[in-house]
């Protein structure tokens, strides 16, 4: 469980109305602690110190949802173009979709990216480890940061390896004569891997920023948020890659 700083819950009597409807409006100036306080039993953490983290996570979630829709649009174009064809001079239907064999290095790239997700998760968990966070919060050094930083660097290195591998895959395709504009399929291949690569580059930049944030930001909470949001972004890009990879391998 990630470390939290929930305030100690005072004795809040929760009146269960039992009728499943709206609770009665409490107009007595009870001063709280009774009546319909927290009548819908929402988790208190929402209003507590974890609020900032959950807010940023939610914002990132919505942004990634939009991004997912963007990728899905490209993929839908992919499927539509699979029906590309024309009629030749003898009125025969000739398909214009030429499936290409993906360069085998993509398998290695996929493994590298999955590994980088693992290292990213290690970094994230170190930063939420209760005892270390408590020590940091108390000002007794930075054990959490010291433990998380190498994993972050490792993730960035693996990410850079992935991008290098992608570049090599492109070189291999180009040496086979398949460039961006060669065929319907090839430009989709380049476009979608390039878009993913661009997002991953942004992820690496975010990792660098998070690394700096670990040492420059003073509040523990903000450091947690920086690494946490980067981690979730990174995992999502990894998931997108799996999706794209499966598509390119089996669905051409």
């Amino acid at each position: 469980m990630p470390a939290t700083f929930t305030r100690s819950t005072t004795d809040i009597e929760r009146k269960d109305t039992g009728i499943g409807g709206k609770p009665p409006v409490d107009r007595r100036p009870t001063g709280g602690g009774g009546g319909d306080d927290n009548w819908d039993h929402h988790p208190n953490g929402r209003r507590g110190p974890r609020e900032l983290l959950s807010r940023y996570r939610l914002g990132l979630f919505f942004a990634l949802a939009g991004d997912l829709v963007f990728f899905i649009t490209l993929v839908s174009a992919f499927f539509v173009r699979q029906n590309a064809g024309h009629f030749d001079v003898r009125d025969n239907y000739v398909s214009d979709w030429h499936p290409l064999a993906i360069p085998p290095i993509l398998w290695i790239n996929t493994a590298v990216l999955l590994l980088s997700s693992l290292t990213m998760e290690m970094a994230r968990r170190h930063l939420f480890h209760e005892i270390d966070v408590m020590e940091e919060w108390l000002g007794l050094g930075r054990p959490a940061v010291r433990r998380a930083a190498p994993w972050l660097i490792g993730t960035a290195v693996l990410g850079a390896l992935f991008l290098t591998g992608q570049w090599m895959a492109w070189q291999q395709l180009a040496s086979q004569g398949l460039f961006f504009a060669t065929s319907q399929n090839s430009h989709f291949f380049y476009l979608v891997t390039a878009t993913h690569g661009l997002h991953l580059l942004l992820g690496i930049i975010a990792l660098a920023v998070a690394l700096c944030a670990l040492f420059l930001l003073r509040k523990v909470e903000l450091r947690q948020i920086a690494v946490d949001c980067t981690a979730w972004y990174w995992h999502t890009m990894g998931a997108f890659w799996i999706f794209i990879f499966v598509l390119l391998t089996y669905f051409q």
Partner: protein
């Protein structure tokens, strides 16, 4: 005093910045439309700086008018502008959840507008393919004036706008979900907030798809791909296939992608207006909506169904006719929640006829105007929703009448209502009622005079985007008197907006100082500014009898101390 600090991330400042941007866009868009109207009836008129405007110039006017109005007025103002201004206060928050993201999205929108306006000044001028930019016209640079650099600038501008809108939607959604004050459950939010919630979800999906479509089109134009360019095109007498590596795309792909964005876009434009209408009717009739839950459900239904009806813009595109049937049925289904809302509003008006504020202030007049235009424009919706009728009416002035009545006039009247209503929040002053009433009546008359006769032009078969009625299109010459009347009415309508501008400019400095809650509203944005922590325990639209008078029960009026 004005609460506007241009470079701050304060939500009110960002909201006012958005509204000012929309004001610039609407002024320019209206000017373009006046030029368009004059051109239709006098195509050979020699203008002072431009000379005679050629038909391609008319198309450039059409394109830029549509783009400015749909994006920079009807998306920027109701959602981005007013939500930034009012949403946090309405849910009891002090600020947006991600205020700097909010500010960033404004600056990106401003950049987008600047890039779009730059298209007027580049060689070739503005693009001519309409705000919908169907390929291959939009996909090949040599197809017309303005289709080279101008089109690229349009694409870049709209790409930036998409990014800005998605970021703003993220900000809105996060705010609504995480920043509601204590006791503000989802079913106690004002209906404007519900409409912004649904609109933000639509924006998230729609603008991401438009961004992808724009990227694909840019790729077609610059990287030699063939997503949208079909085989066999002859451009300027030459086979395009010889110039392009492998064109074997499908313009239909663009249509599907664009309209999957384009239809939710119009719901993005109108849903906040609907939420505002319910709120203002409740305010000025001093009674809650007929059924709050009903209004919420219809809002959700319109938002959800709105994602499924995009094909009704494509009935004559060569799409599978069975798909046409499906889209037609769902489009007619979407009339159900919309009519439900209208009937709800009419029921409010009827039940509130005894308790309404008298005389009706300007925001209420514009709300009634919204209702009028919404019904007028909405009634032609089910007509156009039927593929067989659309086969005749597609791309005629009938469609132009439909969407102008419902988007331009109803949507814009809701924006006017919002400006007159929330002006005290922006400046602490009230706008002039006298000028406001004149503005309303003249606009109402002018708008009906402009857009209603267009139905007849459409039924007579006059197509859209035609730059003139004479010359090679002589069969339309009989419509010249009708179009002349429309043009005169349009100029009248445009001039009536000067009253609004004068009112704005005057009231900012010299308007009557507004009391604390000038409209006797119940929602939280009108609560006294020192109410920092309050716990909500009832719905946002309650009025209570106090003697003989209905008094508003402020949503946070019952206060309890925090524990």
């Amino acid at each position: 005093m004005i609460f506007w600090r241009p470079f701050s991330a304060d939500h009110r400042s960002v909201g006012i910045s958005y509204l000012l941007l929309a004001l610039c866009a609407v002024t320019l868009g209206t000017l373009l439309s006046v030029f368009m109207r004059i051109h239709i009836i006098a195509p050979y008129l020699n203008l002072p700086f431009f000379g005679v405007v050629p038909p391609e110039g008319y198309l450039a006017l059409v394109t830029m008018h549509g783009t400015l109005m749909v994006f920079f007025v009807l998306t920027a103002a109701p959602v981005n502008g007013f939500a930034s201004l009012v949403l946090p206060a309405q849910i009891g928050a002090r600020s947006m959840a991600l205020p700097r993201l909010n500010a960033l999205s404004f600056w990106l929108t401003a950049l987008s507008l600047a890039v779009l306006l730059a298209a007027f000044f580049v060689p070739g001028g503005a693009p001519i393919s309409g705000w919908t930019n169907y390929p291959p016209l939009s996909g090949i640079a040599g197809t017309g004036p303005g289709q080279a650099t101008g089109m690229d600038l349009w694409l870049v501008s709209i790409g930036i706008f998409c990014l800005a809108s998605v970021l703003h939607a993220v900000c809105l959604l996060t705010t609504i979900i995480t920043r509601r004050c204590a006791g503000m459950t989802l079913m106690r939010m004002p209906l404007t907030v519900w409409s912004w919630l649904v609109t933000a979800v639509l924006m998230l999906f729609a603008f991401s798809i438009l961004l992808a479509a724009v990227v694909l089109l840019l790729s077609d134009r610059h990287f030699g791909t063939g997503f949208f360019i079909p085989k066999g095109e002859v451009i300027n007498g030459m086979f395009y296939d010889h110039l392009h590596p492998h064109p074997d795309g499908s313009p239909m792909l663009w249509l599907h992608l664009f309209w999957f964005f384009g239809h939710p876009e119009v719901y993005i434009a109108i849903l906040p207006a609907m939420g505002l209408t319910t709120s203002l009717l409740a305010n000025f009739l001093r009674r809650p909506p007929v059924s709050y839950r009903f209004m919420v459900v219809t809002t959700l239904a319109i938002g959800g169904l709105g994602l499924m009806v995009w094909g009704h813009h494509m009935f004559v595109s060569g799409m599978n006719p069975y798909a046409g049937t499906a889209f037609g049925l769902i489009t007619m289904a979407i009339a159900v929640p919309s009519s439900g809302k209208v009937l709800g509003w009419l029921a409010m008006l009827f039940q509130g006829r005894g308790s309404r504020v008298s005389p009706l202030p300007t925001p209420m007049l514009f709300t009634l105007g919204f209702l009028s235009f919404f019904v007028a424009g909405g009634l032609t919706g089910p007509i156009l929703a039927q593929p067989i009728l659309d086969a005749y009416l597609h791309n005629t002035y009938f469609v132009v009448a439909h969407f102008h009545l419902i988007m331009a006039m109803a949507g814009v009247f809701a924006l006017f209502a919002a400006v007159y209503y929330w002006f005290p929040l922006m400046t602490g002053r009230l706008m002039n009622e006298h000028l406001g009433k004149w503005h309303f009546w003249l606009s109402l008359i002018g708008a009906y005079g402009t857009f209603f006769p267009m139905h007849f032009a459409g039924l007579a078969g006059m197509p859209r985007h035609y730059a003139q009625l004479t010359g090679s299109t002589s069969s339309l010459a009989s419509l010249l008197p009708l179009q002349t009347g429309i043009t005169h009415s349009a100029i009248f309508l445009a001039c009536a907006q000067l009253l609004f501008l004068v009112n704005l400019a005057w009231s900012v400095r010299r308007g009557a100082i507004a009391p604390e809650n000038p409209w006797q509203a119940t929602t939280l944005e009108w609560a006294a500014s020192d109410l920092i922590e309050c716990r909500i325990s009832h719905s946002p639209y309650e009025y209570r009898f106090d003697g003989n008078v209905l008094k508003p029960v402020m949503q946070c009026s019952i206060q309890q101390k925090q524990e």
